[in-house]
Symmetry: D2
Subunit: 330 residues, 4 copies
């Protein structure tokens, strides 16, 4: 029996998004309640990801839980805010300053308490400030080690939660410590804890030069450490955070095939920056694209894909894809 | 009335292709006659491109003309061999050695005579060795000027032929002098001659970070200087020379739309390196992909595309493309 | 006789700079007067670039002129703010909305009046919003044409000012219309006006995959259209806006050689985003790097470089550079 | 006490090198004896790397051993030829065909016997054909697993030899299975054998978007799995195989610092493709560059570097580097 995919969205996708040239963003900000209502109305969306301090705090957690349940939305993950405050400018868990490292632990523990409180099973750690910008400024040995220790500490304290490490090669730093699938997996494994895994953000993986399907297989091969997925699209050189499927087609089909093939059972979560677009419309379109692929990947077509892969004939695979997309067109 | 596209192929695509690790290639070489016969059998192929000295010389020109006509194939262009001989290792028209520059002129004149002799209207100049590898080794001012002069000289001598300059950012040099659409157009314009234009190789343009449709519009905007098109696909960082449409879909649709929109009337020529694939099958698949798009681009759909472009709504354009590709699928 | 280089800085470099994750920036904002005072104290700095509306308006122009003169600083250029307001979100001169295009003209005219008023000779146009994000959303033909017309209109009205077009391949749009040296030069030439040229931002050129020295030569070859230079450094894939010379060495030396060789007589202006660094210190270091190269490029060494280039021997050029940098070390 | 670096070269660097456009290469081929003699004359070179079947076979092993000893050169590693024969076109250890996988084992065992026979301690495995080119053609799960098994099998059989896996993101395939430092390390660790490690080719790492120093630290952090180093330089997008230090300066300094800091005790081996340059001169220049850095990295300067890293001040680190390179110049 095929289990249907579960789709979710990061709440902020529906709000205003800014860039470094226009800190106020290109659109108007909206009240959170409206954003949640909009999310609930997107066909297919069943879950929400929240950012700590932006969307949820220990103070408003119960109220948020109530609001989400009223909208029939699950809280899929919480993302601690370890990246958008000045105090994290030189890193959180890997900061050279021990006080900052302690604060990062405290901040994450607080999010863990919230998660337990509202029944959210996953903490998604995007450690965007944990990296470096210039040569001869980072202690690759010590800082990576501190980073691992921080994650291990908090994950050991909260064995009932799962921690997904979201890698990204750069931005806001010119280099992130958790930059690619394999180095992040190595760190997850190094913690020695079964509740630490990896989140693939498809755009981050493309930007890292990865074949996303292969990265997913790699993570699943190592004790099913693929804990979470973020979806968006880009031109492969930067995290453009565009509508899913606006650029890549066959790569997405192959990715979804392998996610099923390797038993990925997590959420399919949208993570975009619709700077100039209507947020709800852009997210709806992303979900619609993924649902088109899901529908297309019948048991019969997955068998065909397995045979294509077994034959390894590039012309045949390309023809199959062309006939699939254009065969029914007149 | 819509004029149908004309499809052609570079003859060598059907033969053996090598890389730097396996100079003998991954396949067996085939006799030219067989390659021509195979080309003629590919559905949609009406023309052939030949490489000077590899495929055609003053000695065998008449015979080749006869062979092509017997196969009902037009000779679409000849590509002078200014790149695969040791004497061009430091450049042809831009070589620092004046003797080499003279030889490049002679070689090109010879190809021009052949072209006139057999009724081929276009010389495609891919000046792959004209560039440089290291800092502090090239005279960007003098060598670019010599390059332009060489092209001007020969194009002025053969006003009945058209010369298409095929740009590529790198390989075999780390930097080519004719690297991108706009710099190559500038050089074509600088000759002051109407019979010098540009050839877009789609893979070279992708590798240069260009939006190929925009490059085509730019060239057509400047006195319709887009003289020729080479088709293949790649991962945007290197000239992988893959089957057309094996990776990019919407970009190809947009390109074909704009080629029609700007009145491009040249050939749609396949230029691939099917290292490990059956050559004829790989080229057939490329043509089939382009013909699928051609069929899809009805007058009605082109009107829809014009409206999408006029509205500039990214979500709407993405939805249109998704519904086109997946709408008919069950 | 060798004319010494003139160094300047964009005023905002000394203030706070933000990114999309931390709109408030990593540092504290400073009063403009303090920033101007800091600029004046940087060894070698003689000029300032101002951004319209951020730094200078018709209302405060005279006061700013007075402040700059008191600090013995020239106003080198003004950059109209056609990028950091919501109304430009879909473009300025190339916006599909004619009202927005008219506003862009008005905004630029206002800056031109200010420039004439305070004796600033150059308008630097960075049209960051003039581009597009998704396939099938931009009218490459019409919008590029509108863009050129807008520039031509204002440049024709102010023949006493020079207009430098600053290209950049992407950001904030996924594609800019003025993306590379050659396409921007083509547009400058297309205006038919001698007072329209190009500004090279070194980081933008690196990000575009250009050899910056070659781009400079290309622009100077076409009627000395290189009007202005912005300096910073990056890892070649993104506009990291780092300290000059923090990554590239030989490329900078070659660039400075060719700027002299081709008679570039404009300013050497710093344009960085020292997100986490002390602004004045970071800019000082950039100027110090460029002055080290300037000092190094004696008439004798420029002769040596000419000989290296003439020989085209990669090993010899590499050895020369190594001996230069390491020869005196013990 | 500081141990001096040991420098070596891959023998083929001194011969002729070809690319896909000029299979005969740009230069003349030379006899192996002459190449060995040339290598021995390069100041600083003490070792040689040989390629199986090209340079050494079971038949000529003793003779080669004698020739090398006569030239006072150690055989540093042997690289089995699992990449330059038609039979490996679809992979060696990861080939879908079990017969090919067996042949790969046999070929490698043969090289191991030779290595034991002549006293060479290291097998360097560059599995360039083990990857894939197109979507929907590779079985990422099964083929990666076969690859690991092949390596484990042979490494278990020869516990007295060390096996270094040399990663590279692409070429000759569009994607390699051993693509980056971390994924290759994961596979080395997965074998469960202490004699399997990783070889960093600096150019491959740059092409993969890695900070090479950080990759070295990562590998050393995991049980000192950095077994070998190949040196060359490139423009970060392709394996240009250029003279060491012709482009990168500070990155090389940082790398050499961390190699010492983490106790790397392997060889510093040159791996270039001097297509158009005199091979011996190009390799000499590479060694000279690395020796300049080695000399520069005194205990005192390494202390300074540690302090710079501890402070993490980008401006200070950049200034230190500038003063080092330009401070002594007049």
């Amino acid at each position: 029996m095929i289990t249907p995919n579960r789709y979710s969205v990061i709440l902020g996708n529906l709000g205003n998004t800014c860039d470094r040239f226009l800190p106020t963003g290109y659109k108007e900000s909206r009240p959170k309640e409206e954003m949640i209502r909009q999310a609930a109305e997107i066909p297919g969306i069943q879950g929400i990801e929240l950012v700590g301090s932006w969307d949820i705090t220990e103070a408003n957690a119960r109220e948020m839980k109530h609001t989400l349940s009223a909208a029939k939305l699950e809280c899929v993950s919480i993302i601690p805010d370890l990246f958008s405050q000045k105090r994290w400018g030189n890193g959180s868990f890997s900061a050279k300053d021990p006080g900052t490292r302690r604060e990062a632990l405290e901040e994450t523990r607080s999010v863990c308490r919230i998660a337990l409180d509202i029944g959210c099973p996953l903490i998604n750690l995007w450690l965007g400030q944990d990296g470096y910008d210039y040569p001869l400024t980072a202690d690759y040995r010590r800082q990576r080690s501190d980073l691992m220790e921080g994650i291990r500490t908090v994950a050991a304290e909260y064995p009932g939660l799962r921690f997904a490490l979201e890698y990204k090669p750069k931005e806001p730093r010119t280099h992130s410590f958790q930059a690619r699938a394999a180095d992040t997996l190595l760190m997850a494994v190094e913690t020695g804890l079964p509740n630490v895994g990896v989140c693939i953000d498809v755009g981050h993986a493309l930007m890292a030069g990865e074949n996303v399907a292969e990265s997913a297989v790699l993570l699943q091969h190592h004790e099913e450490r693929l804990f979470h997925m973020h979806f968006n699209d880009n031109y492969r050189t930067w995290d453009d955070d565009m509508i899913v499927g606006s650029l890549h087609t066959v790569e997405y089909l192959e990715l979804l095939h392998w996610l099923k093939e390797t038993g990925y059972s997590g959420w399919y979560s949208m993570d975009q920056y619709p700077y100039r677009e209507d947020g709800a419309a852009a997210v709806s379109e992303s979900v619609a694209f993924l649902r088109s692929l899901e529908k297309l990947l019948t048991a019969g077509r997955q068998d065909e894909i397995r045979r294509l892969i077994a034959s390894g004939d590039a012309t045949r695979s390309t023809r199959w894809m062309r006939e699939l997309l254009f065969g029914a067109l007149s």
